[in-house]
Subunit: 393 residues, 2 copies
């Protein structure tokens, strides 16, 4: 069987991937009188009298909604709520298997920003966190922003999960190549959810050390070339990004942007670059070509010039995959009773991921299914949440 046949068979045989289970016994009338009526009424009353008690007596303390509108699913685009469900189940499975979090898919059959915001706010009571997933840019930015004050952590994983792992990879790639983070000139190709979040995170790396450091410069490119202030076709998001990137206001195309750059980060589409294109970069270039399934440049080609090559794929070295981040980030946020996930927590997560390996050229990141990573990320995130004062208690 090929991958397609195998994947279809697995999903059909198991009728999906996620189930619920009871954590309590219901074998006798006595069990029933505690789990359900009349005993449960006492628990309800306790929470009605003391709303915070919902975290002590219910699943809320360990549950996360995996929320999508099906508008930007993997590389498949706007396939809708139903067709996105296998991904949301898969994500929920990873939450459970890697971080013991009880995640459940909420696939919303509506792609209006305000409706999605309203629905998520209204179903939040049973959840301790919200993982936004596969919601198209630029809608994802507003939706996430408007949900930052609902009292539980809300994170759009396509943005920040990716950004955290890219930062982790970059920290170790810099170490291996002997470059200093603060001196890196970075080109980010692709200004969607991931490209935007990567850019923002790389510009505030230092805040966990209470000093404001960042990479030296970021130049963003989209399909029309370099993003610069005043470019006539920029949307609001790109206008804002143009103000904090590309300080020298360069114009031109991607290949122009690469001149003198140390790092290429691709979150765009496959087969954009050749080894020759990389020759204009600084010595020992770092290339993260993360387009899926086909990278912007294949690793064997990139390696002709680059010192470090990473992709999104599991069949090449240095897989840059957000499953290294989201389980530990949410575990840490839930454990620390955080009400949001701030930049400091993201940077702590990236640092923890980077510290899980002794980096070498072909091993800048730990293995995606390593539960030790989740533990270390969770601890770092929880500690930082407390230090930055975003916890309920």
């Amino acid at each position: 069987m090929n991958l397609k046949e195998e994947a279809l068979k697995l999903h059909k045989d198991s009728k999906g991937k996620l189930a619920v289970k009871s954590k309590v016994n219901v074998n006798t009338k006595e069990d029933l009188s505690l789990v359900y009526t009349p005993g449960v009424a006492e628990v309800c009353r306790e929470i009605a009298n003391n709303p915070k008690a919902v975290y002590d007596y219910t699943m809320k303390s360990n549950s996360v909604a995996v929320v999508t509108d099906g508008s930007a699913v993997l590389g498949l685009g706007n396939i809708g709520a139903e067709a996105s469900l296998p991904v949301m189940e898969g994500k929920s499975v990873l939450f459970k298997e890697l971080a013991n979090i009880d995640a459940f898919p909420i696939c919303i059959k509506n792609q209006n920003d305000d409706e999605i915001i309203n629905i998520v706010k209204n179903i939040a009571p049973a959840f301790g966190g919200i993982n936004l997933e596969d919601i198209a840019a630029p809608r994802c930015f507003k939706i996430e922003e408007k949900l930052q004050n609902i009292g539980i952590p809300v994170m759009h994983d396509d943005q920040h999960g990716t950004a955290i792992v890219v930062l982790a990879a970059l920290l170790n790639a810099a170490k291996v190549t002997g470059k200093h983070i603060e001196e890196l000139k970075v080109v980010v190709n692709g200004v969607g959810a991931a490209g935007t979040a990567i850019t923002k995170l790389l510009l505030c790396i230092g805040i966990d050390k209470k000093i404001c450091t960042s990479v030296k410069e970021i130049v963003l490119c989209d399909s029309k070339g370099i993003v610069y202030e005043g470019r006539p076709d920029l949307n609001e998001i790109k206008k804002a990004l143009a103000k904090i990137t590309n300080g020298s206001k360069r114009g031109g195309m991607l290949k122009d942007a690469l001149k003198g750059a140390d790092v290429f980060i691709g979150v765009s589409k496959g087969n954009l670059l050749t080894a020759d294109d990389l020759k204009v970069m600084n010595k020992d270039p770092i290339v993260f070509a993360m387009a899926n399934p086909t990278p912007e440049i294949m690793p064997d080609e990139a390696s002709k010039v680059a010192a470090i090559v990473g992709t999104g794929r599991s069949d090449f070295p240095n897989q840059i995959n957000n499953s290294l981040a989201f389980p530990g980030v949410f575990r840490g946020a839930l454990d620390s009773k955080a009400v949001k996930i701030n930049n400091e927590m993201k940077i702590a997560a990236a640092t923890a991921i980077a510290n899980c390996v002794n980096p070498t050229k072909d091993n800048i990141l730990p293995y995606t299914l390593d539960k030790n990573v989740v533990k270390r990320v969770a601890e770092a995130v929880a500690k930082t949440a407390k230090e930055t004062g975003v916890c309920r208690e």
Copy 2:
């Protein structure tokens, strides 16, 4: 420990009652490539091309949302979404333990009808059915009605679960007392969710036999006495019910209604009646005093006059509890690919429940945790769904 202490301890020790679990292995990169990217994309594509396939490849075929707005939780009233969560988790646990259905709580922090309808419609893609729970009357009627055409079965359990079990109990109580269903004069006290649904169901019992039979007469009472056409203070729901009940247009109070009645069904509040009040009923009266936790009349008192006494409580004989109905009803609806739950299916469920016992005075209903009941109810419901043509295929 008393019940309160025990219930609080159980919920606190287990941090709630519900968890999720994975049905598939995620131990290797190969597993990951099937469960998540890149393999899962093939499954998404399959569903995008053929929307019905969502039932074959995802959890939808076995998942039910337990939806509440926390407005009428047990006997506790409008305690809100968070405080209702222990009940919704308990209900989900029963769905799992009794019917192997993967149910998940959706506690909505909004009590506007149209908002609730909109939210439920929009989150439906991941669910194969919707169990509405503890939503106050009269809002529950409109909400349920407006959700009847969303393509998956939607049932408000406080209405129909209760009505089904009451009908089951009545079928067997009539058998034990040698009365004929068609000749019964019934008083229903309480015109909320349960009273309304019980009334409607008892008026169309015969439709599963393709002949239209019902009990002979129903007289409804609310806190102001008998409901009759033209009573000046009736709301729209009660006006409609007045047209199909109390044919002789009697007025008066509950105690007047009981004159010449065969059956008293209480879904109201505790301590309303004495044995003396029952003496005006016909010979061998049937009394279902279901107010929780205190019945309208205690069983020892009622038994002085009544031939059969049932309550909602597990510590007396003849517990009339909707956990006898909802697991099998949804199991049958999911198994038969029903798109709704019609009266015929409810009557089939009631008949199946009644047929699970050889009824005697103190044993008109099966044991609430008997999984054999679920199986028989599910089979009857599925068969009827197919016969009445409400299945997807």
